[in-house]
């Protein structure tokens, strides 16, 4: 690591390059403010850029996200740090924040990379592709995904064998193993926290068999299977490559469940499951899709109609909580569930099970301020100090929250929340 600490100043710091952070950065920059956007991943776009389509319109997620991330990347008022993390923030005074940022080496000179992927072609190392949720492999020299922004290669140094093949193959000679971790002290007038959410890890519910039964997937794994840049040639079971006929969705996996410590409704699982079920009916016209639910919460604009549309397409709905999943010799899965309407315990066999995993807080931002000034709410999301009158405000004056960092919400609400945060930040800067 280099000992040198670089200094820079901007009007605003936006932490998190997902859809909320990106929107907030664009709003600020379009109003003439200089913005630094810090993203810990290798690409901006967050979780949305990896989705197949969005509910309830079934618009292509990438078609909405790609122009947005492209605008962010090209905007002269926005500087983007990818592969970078905030380690601490100190409020020195009003409109005076000092933030320590660490930027990991990419081992590729971003400005020179042409995304030709020749490095990827010759790299001999294959590891699980985290952007395809481990369903397929990627190389140690790789472009994160086809619509990544920046579309620049990176070297996964933990898995690299330092064979040098990528460097020899690179036409512009932009691979540089001499790069080191860079440290920055950033001065800004305001901070927007848009650090998003974490997905529930279904390994915490062993009775569902995730990780043991290979045909039990999470909803994000199914999301990737449904996306145009999917890991397989069609929808297939990861356990044996079978095209599934009978697919089950288990809603509220890790939401509304005190036993795993998350009593909160994730607000998006019902709707994304309805969306995926409809897309599956399109991709596999002969398939039977069954959704096991406690309540269908279709509360937003156009959501109830979307639910009715799903029923009209022939998707089955069973009101009941799934207690246990077991596997047969053929890799099929038997769901044991309580049918609430029939008032009895029943069993049903499916080819594939999708766990609609819930939204959990990302608690990283709570540690940014050394003295715990940034407060959390009772569920560990960033606390909204004045939730009714000024929902973007946090416990620290001048620090605002955008998107799912403050609680579960869908994409339109995240974008609205980002608008509120950027407006509040501008007001604060102008005071």
């Amino acid at each position: 690591m280099s000992d040198e600490i670089r200094a820079a100043s901007y009007d605003a710091l936006v932490i998190g390059g997902g859809i909320a952070g990106g929107e907030a950065a664009l709003d600020l920059a379009n109003n003439g403010y200089k913005v630094l956007l810090v993203e810990k991943d290798l690409s901006i776009g967050g979780k949305m850029i990896l989705l197949s389509k969005v509910f309830p319109t079934l618009d292509c997620a990438a078609c909405i996200t790609t122009p947005k991330v492209s605008e962010i990347s090209r905007h002269p008022g926005i500087t983007v740090f990818t592969g970078a993390e905030v380690t601490s923030i100190e409020k020195k005074g009003e409109r005076e924040f000092e933030t320590a940022v660490t930027k990991r080496p990419r081992y590729v000179v971003e400005e020179d990379c042409t995304a030709c992927q020749l490095c990827e072609e010759v790299c001999p190392v294959v590891v699980h592709d985290e952007y395809q949720y481990r369903l397929v492999g990627r190389k140690a020299a790789f472009i994160p995904f086809s619509i990544a922004s920046p579309r620049v290669a990176a070297i996964d140094i933990e898995n690299c064998t330092l064979c040098g093949a990528c460097e020899k193959a690179c036409p512009p000679k932009c691979i540089d193993f001499t790069q080191e971790t860079e440290k920055y002290i950033i001065k800004t007038g305001t901070v927007i926290v848009a650090t998003g959410f974490k997905l529930f890890d279904p390994l915490k519910i062993p009775r569902y068999g995730y990780g043991v039964y290979k045909n039990v997937l999470t909803s994000m794994e199914m999301e990737r299977q449904l996306a145009p840049t999917r890991p397989f040639n069609t929808i297939l079971r990861p356990g044996d490559g079978k095209m599934p006929d009978r697919i089950a969705y288990v809603l509220c996996t890790g939401s509304r469940d005190d036993t795993i410590g998350n009593p909160v409704c994730s607000q998006i699982c019902c709707m994304y499951s309805l969306k995926q079920a409809q897309l599956l009916m399109g991709a596999l016209p002969m398939a039977d899709v069954t959704i096991y639910y406690i309540n269908i919460r279709s509360f937003g604009k156009g959501f109830e109609e979307f639910y009715e549309q799903a029923k009209g397409m022939g998707i089955s709905f069973v009101k009941g909580k799934v207690g246990k999943i077991t596997e047969t010799e053929t890799g099929n899965l038997i769901l044991r569930y309580e049918d609430i309407n029939e008032n009895r315990v029943m069993e049903e066999e499916h080819d594939m099970v999708v766990l609609a995993v819930g939204v959990l807080p990302n608690t990283d931002p709570l540690s940014f301020f050394r003295n715990g000034e940034l407060k959390a709410d009772q569920f560990s999301f960033v606390d909204q100090a004045e939730v009714l009158s000024s929902p973007a405000r946090t416990s620290v004056k001048g620090v605002f929250v955008a998107g799912t960092a403050s609680g579960p919400m869908d994409i339109p609400d995240s974008i609205l929340s980002a608008g509120a945060a950027s407006s509040e930040a501008i007001s604060y800067l102008k005071q």
Binding site: V125, T161, E167, F177, D240, G241, G331
Partner: protein, 92 residues
């Protein structure tokens, strides 16, 4: 220490050791690749058929096979009469 453009990997090789995990993963992938490509040279096969022939679990075959499809060594062929399993073949 070597820092000439195009040969900087030598610089890092002096500074850090390649982990045993990374070496093991490389060896395992090469072994699986050789086995799968060898089996498909004989005839087109489904994931289950490859699993039986190579004595590997289906999910392992899926991971390596789909990676070989992604990087262009293998392609999907026909689906069986029950519309359940694709066969896979070497890409010519």
């Amino acid at each position: 220490m070597e820092t000439e453009k195009g040969k900087t990997f030598r610089y890092l090789r002096e500074k850090r050791e390649v982990s045993q995990d990374a070496k093991d993963r490389l060896r395992e992938f090469n072994r699986a690749k050789k086995e799968i490509l060898g089996a498909l040279k004989e005839k087109d096969m489904t994931v289950n058929e490859l699993g039986k022939k190579l004595d590997r679990p289906g999910h392992e075959i899926m991971f390596y096979l789909m990676t070989l499809v992604k990087y262009g060594s293998v392609e999907a062929g026909d689906i069986d009469d029950m519309d359940e399993y694709f066969s896979y073949k070497l890409k010519k």
